[in-house]
Each structure stands twice: as structure tokens, then as C-alpha cells.
Amino acid sequence: MGEAMRRWGGGLGTLFRILGITSLLFLYLPIVVLILFSFSAGRTFTFPIIGYTTHWYAALAENSDLLRSLKNSFLVAAGVVPLTLLLGIPAAYALSRIPFRGRGVLEHVFMLPLMIPGLITGLSILLLLKEFNLGLSLFSVVLGHTVACLPVVMAQVTARLRTLDPRLEEASQDLGAGTIETFLRVVLPNLTTAIVGSALLVFILSFDEIAITFMLTGTENTLPMYIWASLRRGVSPELCAIAALMVAVSICLVFTGLRFSKSGAE
């Protein structure tokens, strides 16, 4: 490293190191505190912490409302993940490879739910369902989550397709494979990392989603809706334990996702 790069890392570097580390502390101290209090023996959130217990975690296993909402969240995600993948992957392929009139507009339409707040996406589907006299259930939640998660899959797959050499597909077609065969045997295998990555992301987005669920769920609660309902009565140590577990699950998923995308890149 030359003298020039040393100057680059000098005063400016020190400034950004301080700012960066401060922001990381801002992001992570609350999470550390949350985990700490999920093990606190007292019911209140006050320092100093008097004793430690795993009682709150043990209590979760006996909370039937919680377990039911957890099961519902899994059910919803189990619908949303395959639905978004089945709709999104071929659509992203068609949009990136086949030129046609109105393509640009269509791309933007698909991305709308990323920009429009979930509350409004949720209530818009609610209005539609009411117009056709359809009731609310976990199924309507799946429909809503799919609208919101479809652009996530499409964006990830499109980004991967951009780095995929189109000559591979040309070669396959020159060798006599049709478009569908080329898609299944040449394109799809190359999309594995993007597909796994977006499946994980859609799973967690659906699992954590609240705004659309809030408008579209019937009598059943998902996990975030259960937390939401409990929060109206105030924060409790049980909620802290649930939150700490959710953070742990997120960390595992990100770790898996990054591991996977790295191994795919090599």
C-alpha cells in the first residue's frame, strides 16, 4: 500500500471508524439488552438485573395460543414460498430474455408492492375480497403475502440472470434443445443460489409480516399477530424470550443464506 492510500485511511478513516462503530452499537446494543432481559428473573425491565432464569423460555412451550400462532405462521409460509417461486422464476426469466411491447411497464407493476406500504396493499385486497363476498382466513393471508413477496423473488432471479452468459442458452438451443428444455436444464441449475436465497428471504418475510396480515387474517393469528395482540397489554418477559428466539432464527437463516450464496459463487 502506497503513501497515497495511507493518507486515504488517515483522518477520514478514523472519522468513519468512529461513526461506523457507533452505528453498529446503536443497532446491536438493543438486541443484546433484549436477550439479556429474556433471561432476567424479575418481571420488570429494570437495571440492575437481580437473577437469571430460563423460566420464560420453558413457559413458551406450554403457551397453546403461541404454539397455535406459530403453526399458522408456518402454514402461511409453506403456501407463500412455493407459490412465489413458481410464479416468480419463470416470469423473471421471460422478462429478462424475451423483448415485447410493454415490458418496462409490466416490470414496474410487479415491483409496486415494494413501494406501497403493506397496510395499503392489505386493505386493497380486503376491498377486492369484500366485493366478491369472500371471507378472510389464512388463505387470504397467503394471497396477500404472495403479492408482496413476488417482487423479491423476481428481483433476485433477475439479478442472477443478468450475470448469466446468454451464450449458454444459445448453445443449448443450437444443439437442438427447445426453450423449455433449455430453461429446465441450463438456466434453472444456474439459478440455484438465487432460488435458495429468495426462498429463505420470502420465508422470513412472510413469517415476520404484519401489515398485510393485520388486514387480511380471519379468526386465526400468525406469530406476529399474536405478539402484536400481546403487546397491547404491555411488554412481558415471555415476549422477550420469543423475540430472542426469533433473532436466533434470523441469524441462522442469514448464515445459511450467505454460506450458500458464497459456495455458489465459487
Binding site: S23, L24, L27, L87, A94, I116, P117, G176, L231
Partner: protein
């Protein structure tokens, strides 16, 4: 290509190719497009349609009227709600851009060997429940919360501070906390693409670190900033979780009013009209930001 078409479609290769392209398009894009039509375009259109109807005698009167919009324009409560949401979204976007940008620069250029671990730390919050990250602050900022008890314990204050929770401050703080990674990640992606040679060249030519930062790093990372700012603005503008959990009477936001129209007030047309206004504001924001990026790019 011509050889292959000659083999598979001897009669009229061009037409066959065109037909098959259309067939493939329908097959691949059709299902997603149909889904988007039914569950995205029609619903958003419903919002517009409901917004020009009105409630009369506890039923929805399906006749074209601008009454809802006029009421929004006249009613100070609705106007305040829209203003509050704009203000909160503006503050949160500015704060998230500044903090997220600094964080991204630190990780991209100055974190040394820890870079991949720090990148990991940047992604985790994005994969962690929004609701959960909002409720952490309710725990921390409350009158008998973690921060107050810590301050009392250490002896910085002798009675709990009341002004931390249920006001504009707690809403903006929490939303900024939530959206910093939304800015930091796209900015980091943009910074990663800047060749290190460019920085070295600028420094070699006698530019100071500050000049290099201002003239090279900032312009080249602008697309990432715009992406992050758009997301932050749109999502914080329409959020209802944070104002409900941490807001107070002085921060009535438009999302809470909409929920009220769909719940207790049971005035769906009015709620829809407010939703249309949110959509219009969000769309204007996106258009302005894209324009800004194009002019600078």
C-alpha cells in the same frame, strides 16, 4: 441460430420462431401476470373506486363523489395526520441516510479484515422482524424502562425521564433504527463496485481524502443512496406498527387514521381516499428521487 431453426422448423422458420416466442411468453409470464392482475392491479383499482364513493345511512353509496377528498382537504385532523406522516418520513429518511451511509463507508473501506463479519451484521437486521425491532424500543424507552432504570442506577438522573416515549421523538428514533440497514445495504453494494484504483489515482494526483470522498465516492454511490432513501421514505410514511406502539397523541399518523376508518369508524370510502393520497405521495416521492438520480447520473 439459423441452422437450428432450419432443422426444427423447415417450413417457415421465422413465423414458427415468433409463434414459439409468444407461446413461451404466455407460458412463463402468464401465471404471474394473471396473479398480478387479480391480486395487485384490481385491488389497487378498488381502492381508487371506493375512494369516490361515500357512506350514507351505514351503507356504501356507490355513486361518484369527491366528498371524501373535500373532507380531507377541510378537516384539520386529516391534514395534520398527513403532515405528521410526511414530517416523520422526512426526518427518518434523512437520519437513516446519514447514519446508514457512514456505516456503509466504514464497512466497505475501513473495516479491514472484519469486513465479511460486519457485512453479516448489516444483513441480520433486515431479516429480523420489524415488529420486534420496534417493540425493543418500547422496552428501552418506557418510564419504567431499561434506559430510565439504567440512568437511575448509575445516578445520572434522580427521577425517571418522561419525555422518551409516546411522542414524535420515540417514533422517529425507532423508525430510524429500523431503516438504517435499508440504506446501508444498497449503499454498501454501490461502494463495493468502486474500483480501489480510482481512489488511489485520486490520492496520487494530490486530492485530499476529503476531496476524494466528495468527488468520487459520493457521486458513484448515489444510486445506492437513492434506492435506500426511496424504501425508507415509502415504508416509514405508511408504517402503522411504530406509531401505534410508540406514538402519542401528538403524532397521529395517516396510517392510524386509515386503520380507524376500516375499523371503528367503518368508513371504508374515507379510508380508501386517504390510502389514495398515500399512494400518490409515495409515487411522487419515487418519481422525484428517480429523476434526481437520472440528472446526476
Amino acid at each position: 441460430m439459423a441452422v437450428q431453426e432450419g432443422l426444427t422448423a423447415p417450413s417457415s422458420p421465422e413465423r414458427t420462431r415468433l409463434w414459439s416466442q409468444t407461446g413461451i411468453l404466455v407460458l412463463f409470464l402468464g401465471p404471474a401476470a394473471a396473479y398480478a392482475l387479480i391480486f395487485l392491479i384490481l385491488p389497487y383499482a378498488s381502492v381508487f373506486r371506493f375512494s369516490v364513493w361515500a357512506v350514507e345511512n351505514y351503507g356504501i353509496h356507490q355513486e361518484l363523489t369527491a366528498a371524501n377528498y373535500l373532507r380531507i382537504a377541510e378537516n384539520p385532523l386529516y391534514r395534520a395526520a398527513i403532515r405528521n406522516s410526511l414530517l416523520v418520513a422526512g426526518i427518518v429518511t434523512t437520519a437513516s441516510v446519514v447514519i446508514g451511509y457512514a456505516l456503509a463507508v466504514y464497512i466497505a473501506f475501513f473495516s479491514g479484515r472484519g469486513q465479511s463479519a460486519l457485512f453479516f451484521l448489516l444483513v441480520i437486521p433486515l431479516w429480523t422482524s420489524f415488529l420486534l425491532r420496534a417493540f425493543i424500543w418500547r422496552m428501552i424507552l418506557g418510564r419504567q424502562g431499561i434506559l430510565n432504570s439504567a440512568l437511575l442506577w448509575v445516578g445520572v438522573v434522580d427521577k425517571p425521564i418522561d419525555v422518551l416515549l409516546f411522542n414524535m421523538f420515540s417514533v422517529c428514533l425507532t423508525l430510524t433504527y429500523v431503516f438504517i440497514p435499508f440504506v446501508a445495504l444498497p449503499v454498501y453494494a454501490a461502494l463495493e463496485k468502486i474500483p480501489k484504483d480510482l481512489i488511489e489515482a485520486s490520492m496520487d494526483l494530490g486530492g485530499s481524502a476529503w476531496v476524494t470522498f466528495r468527488r468520487i465516492i459520493i457521486p458513484l454511490s448515489l444510486p445506492g443512496v437513492v434506492t435506500g432513501a426511496i424504501f425508507t421514505f415509502c415504508l416509514s410514511f405508511g408504517d402503522f406498527v411504530t406509531p401505534t406502539l410508540l406514538g402519542g397523541p401528538d403524532v397521529l399518523m395517516v396510517s392510524s387514521v386509515i386503520i380507524n376508518q376500516f375499523g371503528a369508524s367503518f368508513d371504508w370510502p374515507m379510508g380508501s381516499a386517504l390510502a389514495v393520497i398515500v399512494i400518490v405521495i409515495v409515487a411522487t416521492g419515487v418519481a422525484l428521487a428517480t429523476q434526481l438520480e437520472r440528472r446526476n447520473g
